[in-house]
Structure formats: structure tokens, C-alpha cells
Amino acid sequence: MPTPSNEGIPSQENSARTVSSNLKENEQTLISIFEHCSDVVFRRLTLHNDAKLLLVYIDGMIDKDFVQSSILKPLIYEGVPQGLGALDSLAQMCDQEFVAALQTKRVTSFEEAADHILKGSVAFLADGETSILLADVAQFETRSIEEPSTEASLRGTRESFTEHLRTNTTMLRRIIVTPDLKMETFQIGKLTKTDVVLAYIRGLASDNLLEEVRSRIETIDIQGVLESGYIEEYIEDTNYSPFPQMMSTERADVVSAGLMEGRIAVFVNGSPIVLIVPMTFWDGLQAPDDYYERFLYVTMNRWIRYLFALFSILFPSIYIALTTYHPEMMPPKLMMSITGLREQSPFPTVIEVFLMEFMFEGLREAGIRLPQQIGPLVSIVGALVIGQAAVQAGIISAPIVIVVSAAGISSFVIPRYRFGYPLRMLRFPLLILSGVFGLFGVALGLILIMIHLIHLTPLGTPYLQPIAPTKKSKLKDVFWRRPRKGTS
């Protein structure tokens, strides 16, 4: 979604004004600020002693029941509430923030008042009072907590984050019960004024890293933030890398684990995806239930993932290199069957693989975009037309279908789905290289990828750590998942 250009924020003129003691005047200013905003409600009240009160709020963003029963009813039926001392006027009430709501605030600028009203506060304006009293009564429809949809796991919490920032931070607070869990709030976006929360555990997260992330977030100058991806793009070291440089998760347990390892989480209001920085290559291949299941099984699973990750990036290009450049490297019987199956195909192997890879990526993309009701259709058409029919018609040879689908499926073995993107993407340059130079080209491509990976140090952490540079103490979480008992 394109973000509109960063010019001319309207209604700045009015909001710069400060609140006067004249209610009529203040009302006019607010009305001009909220011109053509049909959802803004101005409620004028006249109380017992001719005191005039103006309530401003946005319809649908406040808790109506609460406002009616706890604020309006006492005011209208009983007059100005009597607290410790006598309150003579509404102005005094506003001055002492005497409203039955948890969060109240007094502001003197219209700009601030407008901000709060837009976020679900009720503004109280009284005659003769030079400040606006704001009571936070925000309540709006939010999605309830559901199961994680992109990070399914057999074992572990079933809760995933929602779009509501507070819900998300609460989930974190419920897991990590210490005042050392810090949450710093930033407001990013001129129009969206999105709350961005930097969560970390004091004492675990390194100050340098924290300072770096903080400063990168502070320098963000953007019109709007619709998703945590906007923030990610600003924090990451380079945008020109196929590899993700921070983890994104919708699971509170993953965030907690990250924080306890000294990482920093970035919550963005309106996004169920939380970012965790920094990330290493191996994080992309680890699943949350790695730490919940028994370690032997997990170790096996990890190796399966490593092999499949390699398989997914290399299989098609190795197939091309072996069949067309180095047929002597294949077992004779395999060579014979592949040749036999290729006998009728009209295209060179490279072209065939390219065609099928494109079709596969197309199917994958279609699978995400299609409405659920049409989903099965794609799988049927995909399986029949692209798989079986193409082979039977002699357009595509059968081994290619096996190679492409095996490589495609193996990229989905990777638990962090975003980590599968670079593997699928890099397959194409490797295909070209292997089609042009054979195994030599594949080796060249792999070397280039390795150079890039070693070069990559997101937020100062080498991407291939702990393998390169080697950190022996941390290897226990790469080659195997060492059991926790007896180890610190």
C-alpha cells in the first residue's frame, strides 16, 4: 500500500492554539478541527447551577456503558461530585481531574486533546476552565486471541498475538514477571501515530544494542505505519539482502525466549507480528517446540531441517549440473532411467526446470491469495495439469516434476516461513549458473552466497554466529539442542 507523500498535514493551524477560558470559543476551535468528521460527537450539557459542560468523543471508540453510568449519570442527577473538599464548579472538578475513570489527563493544547480524542478518550470542556480534561475510556472491537496461524507447533502455547498492542504486551507481562522487563514507547508515523514498543529485559539486553535500536527507531520519519514490516525496513542493516535480518513472530513464547536471551522485541500497534532483533542464520531454522520436546528427537529434527534447507536451495541446480554437464557422476542405472524419461521432452533441462519452478511459485502465490472456497481447485488443477498431464503429454519430463516439487516442499520444512523466501529466491540465480557453468557454477553461486552471509552483521551480530565466528559455548544450540538439566 503506497504511503501518501509527507507534505501538508491539514488542520495544523487550529490545533496549534491553546485552550481559552471561553467554552464557546473552545468548542468552535474543536469543531473546526474535527470538520467533516461525522463520527465525532459533541455533547453539550447544562448542569444544576447553569454550569456548561462539553463532552467530545468519537462514537464507537469509547465504552458507552461506562461513560453513561459512571460519568454522565452522577453529573446530571447529582451535580458536581463532592470529594474531600467541596467542589463548587465544573471547572474545579476538571481541575482536580475528578472523574470516575482510571486514566485521566489535563491538557492545554488542542493538538494534544485532539490526539487523545482520536485514540478513544472523552474530552471534558468546562466554562471558565483553561484546560481540557481527558478521560481514557477507549473501548473498541478487537480480534480475540487465536491460535498462531503461521507458526503452528505441536507443543507450546496456543496463544498468538493480536492487532491490539496492549493485549500483546500483557501477554508478555504474564510470562515474564519482573520489573526488569522494560517497555519503551515511541510514536511513529505522522498520520497513524502508531505506538511502537521496545521491550527488553534490563541487565540482559546489551546497552549498545539497545542504544542502536533506539536511535534507529527514533530517526524513522514516515507518514504511516501499517505493519511491523515498516519498522523492520528502517531498523535492518541493509534492505538489499534476501535473508531476513530479524525474526518475526506471532507467539508470545518466542518473544519471551528472545528477551531472555538478551534480544530486543519491537511491538507495533496494529500488527500481530512482533520483531525480535538481532537474528542469526540458525534462528531461521529453529522452531519454538525445539525447546519443549525431548532433545534427541529435536536434534534429529534440526538435522532434517538443515538438510532440507540445503536440499531446497541446491536440488534443482544440482540436477541440471549432473544431467547436462556431468552425467558420469550419476549412478548408471539412475542415468539410464532419467535419460529414458527425458527421451520425449522437447525442451532442454534448464528450460524445463525454469518452467516448472515458475509454475510452482505461481501455485504457491495463488494458494495464498485465493479465497478459501477456491483453494481446493488450485490444488487439483495444479496437481493434474502441471504434474501429471504435462508429463503424460510429453511436455515436461517426470524427473523435473519430482525435482521441482521436492525442492519446493522442502523449503516449507523451514519453521520460520520467512526464512524459506531467500532459499526459494536464490534457487533461480543458482539455476542460471548451473545451466551455464555446471557444477562449477553451482559452487560459484554457493561461494557468493557464503560471502554475503559472512558479510551480513545485522545490528553488529554476525549472521552465521556461532559457526562463523565460532563461539564454542553456543554451538550446543546449533548442532544439537543440549538438554537443559545440569547446564546453565
Binding site: 544431467t323 542415468m335 539410464m336 535419460t339 529414458g340 551455464v436
Partner: protein, 383 residues
């Protein structure tokens, strides 16, 4: 960064656009799976190649395919590659030697060589040509030509060339690959034993027929054959036999016993004294009694001793006969004793190696065989 990317792209595209690549689709290749060397009628080198027809091998084979799974093409030439060039004229695809599984050498060319020279010099191509497979098994065709064998229909597989090494495995020997032949034929002195194969009477099936003796001191000319049983013992002495079945000779009264030897061991001692070299060959074999048609009961210690003694004696007699045959009939060292002498007496070997076969045939060679059983089988006395 940008510059390097542009340079890399340019390099890749220049390679593609100038068609400067050696990409070959598998269906542009004629995959040679077996090669044969023969002497043609007019005394020239004749090369036969068994070429796989992949269309009949892979793909959706619903029911027996009508196409034959291979073709055998022959051509004569000045040498291997020249003949290959002539083979190429009969084919629409490039010959591809990297999957050659078998090399067969006809008896005539093995005996006579081409123009008086041994056939070995033509095998240089197999080592030199990088696209040539060194792991082919090598066989001598007894009483026939290589192309006869190549044209036979194997029972189980589609192609005979891919099955020949398993023939040796099934008989309990290590498959004999070309690279081993190379290692054995280069040091001086003695002879090389190559496995031999022949066609059966109908010329449709092959049959293992012992070992061929190639005299190293005579340009590797073929000088004779060992029958299959002799070849097992020869392989045992050379350490190439993994299992074999020893059966006592038939006698009307006593019946016979078979012992399946599982892990044949050998121990060869070379000694030198005033009278010259002595070689003592000790063969040890453990195994199971798999057949017993005698009245002896292996569960009784006395009978068991008799069985073991009989088996050992008979095997020893065969081994001695084999040694005699090598020393008296062929007068060549087929047992690879030269290599042992070389290892033990490297100085003497320098003078011995030139005339090793002569020394060998006059040497004292003694042999003893000890066969023991592990398991008498699932019953006691013969049924």
C-alpha cells in the same frame, strides 16, 4: 557492488550467447555400458560397444516394451578410439564412455594380440581418457568373442553389462575391476588372473568359466585357463574369495559332505635359505556344514574330527594340484607370490623380477588347508 554485479552478469551472458558451454542433454548421448575387444577376421582390432536404448529402459513401461533395451555396434580401427570414431558413424548420438560397466576381451585377441603385441596397449585409453570409467569390470571371453557375450540376454536385468560384476559377487568373489587389473599388470613378474566368461551352447546365456591366465612376462598374452573350481582356490590364495563351498569327492560307499566356508583366511610364508626360496601356504576356513550324505554324525567328536580331516585333506589336494598346474603346466606365478617376495626381500626381488616365472616354477611350494566347522547344521546324523 554494482560493478561486480554487472561484470558477473556480463560474464554469464557472454558464456550463454556465444554458446560457449559444454552442456549436453542426456538424450544427446549414446551411453556405452559395455565395451568389447576382438580380433576381426583380417587381424584388425574390432571394438564392440553395447549401447543402452534409454527409451526402452526408463519411462512408463506398462508391460513388456517392444523395443530392445540395447544395441551392440561393432567397428574396426587402428586403436580403441579410432574404432570408436568408426562406431560413431553408425550412431546419431555422441558416444559417452563414462558409464561403461564392463570390458570384455575376446579369447583370440587375448591370445594373439594385434600384430603380435598384447592387447594391453589398447587399454591405455581407459586410463587416459577422462571421460572413461575405470571402475568397469574386466573379463576374458573363453572360447568366443566379446560381441557374442554382449549380445546375450541377461535373465534378470535389462542389460548384461551391468550384471557381470554381480556374477562374481554371487560366486563369493570380489568383483575384478579394471583399476585392479591395472595395478596388477604393471609390476613385473608373474601373471594376472582375469575372470573368464563364456556363452553356453545355445549362445543365448553366459556362464562363468573360471579364470584366464595372462602372462606378464609375455606382454600379457593369454596362456590358458583355470576351471571354475581351481579359480576359487586361486582366489582364496590371492585373498579375493569371500565364501566358497568345499565338497568332498564322491565315493559310492561313503557319500560326501559340503562345507560352506564363510571367511576364508590365508597365511603365506616366504623363506629363503641356502637352497633358495620356500613358500608355505596356509589356508584356514571356518564354515557351516550345509550338506552331509555320509553316515558320519557331526555331533560326535570322533566323527566331526573325521569330517574336518577329510574336508581339509581334499581341499589340500586340490590346492596342491593347482600349484602343480601353475608350476609345471603354465610355469607362471598365478598366485601373486611375486608380490610377497617383493615385500619381504626387496633387494633380491630386483634381480628376481626379470625371470620370476622361471624361479617360481622351480620353487618349493608347500600348502596346508585347515577347514573347521562352526555349525553342524540343523540336524545331527545324515537323514
Amino acid at each position: 557492488m554494482k560493478k561486480t554485479m554487472i561484470i558477473i552478469c556480463l560474464l554469464v551472458f557472454s558464456a550463454v550467447t556465444s554458446s560457449c558451454w559444454n552442456l549436453k542433454e542426456p538424450n544427446q548421448l549414446a551411453i556405452v555400458i559395455g565395451g568389447g575387444l576382438d580380433l576381426s577376421q583380417d587381424g584388425q582390432l574390432e571394438v564392440s560397444s553395447q549401447i543402452a536404448v534409454p527409451a526402452a529402459l526408463g519411462g512408463e513401461n506398462n508391460g513388456p516394451s517392444k523395443k530392445r533395451s540395447f544395441v551392440v555396434v561393432n567397428a574396426t580401427g587402428k586403436n580403441f578410439m579410432d574404432a570408436g570414431q568408426n562406431l560413431q558413424m553408425q550412431l546419431s548420438r555422441t558416444l559417452f564412455y563414462a558409464h561403461r560397466q564392463t570390458i570384455l576381451v575376446g579369447q583370440r585377441i587375448a591370445e594373439q594380440g594385434v600384430a603380435g603385441q598384447g592387447f594391453l596397449k589398447y587399454l591405455d585409453m581407459i586410463v587416459r581418457n577422462p571421460k572413461s570409467e575405470m571402475r568397469s569390470v574386466i573379463w576374458i571371453v573363453k572360447g568366443g568373442t566379446a560381441k557374442d557375450i554382449l549380445a546375450t540376454e541377461p535373465t534378470f536385468d535389462a542389460l548384461i553389462s551391468t550384471t557381470l560384476y554381480s556374477v562374481q559377487m554371487a560366486l563369493g568373489m570380489k568383483p575384478y575391476y579394471y583399476r585392479e587389473f591395472l595395478c596388477e599388470s604393471l609390476p613385473k613378474g608373474g601373471a594376472v588372473l582375469l575372470p573368464a566368461i563364456s556363452t553356453n551352447s545355445s549362445k543365448k546365456k553366459f556362464i562363468y568359466s573360471g579364470a584366464a591366465i595372462l602372462d606378464k612376462e609375455h606382454e600379457l598374452h593369454l596362456i590358458g585357463f583355470l576351471n571354475p573350481e581351481e579359480s576359487y582356490y586361486a582366489n582364496w590364495i590371492k585373498g579375493r574369495q569371500k565364501t566358497l563351498t568345499v565338497t568332498t569327492s564322491e565315493s559310492q560307499k561313503e557319500g560326501n559332505i559340503s562345507l560352506r566356508v564363510k571367511s576364508p583366511k590365508r597365511h603365506i610364508r616366504v623363506e629363503k635359505d641356502a637352497q633358495g626360496m620356500h613358500v608355505h601356504i596356509q589356508l584356514h576356513g571356518f564354515g557351516n556344514i550345509v550338506e552331509n550324505n555320509t553316515s558320519l554324525d557331526p555331533s560326535e567328536a570322533q566323527d566331526l574330527g573325521a569330517i574336518q580331516k577329510k574336508l581339509s585333506q581334499e581341499a589340500e589336494r586340490d590346492v596342491v594340484k593347482l600349484i602343480q598346474k601353475a608350476q609345471k603346466q603354465y610355469k607362471v606365478d598365478i598366485l601373486g607370490l611375486g608380490e610377497l617376495v617383493h615385500q619381504k626381500y626387496p633387494h633380491e626381488w630386483k634381480s628376481l623380477q626379470k625371470n620370476w616365472n622361471d624361479t617360481f616354477s622351480k620353487m618349493t611350494i608347500t600348502a596346508e588347508v585347515h577347514l573347521r566347522y562352526h555349525d553342524p547344521g540343523q540336524t545331527n546324523a545324515s537323514m
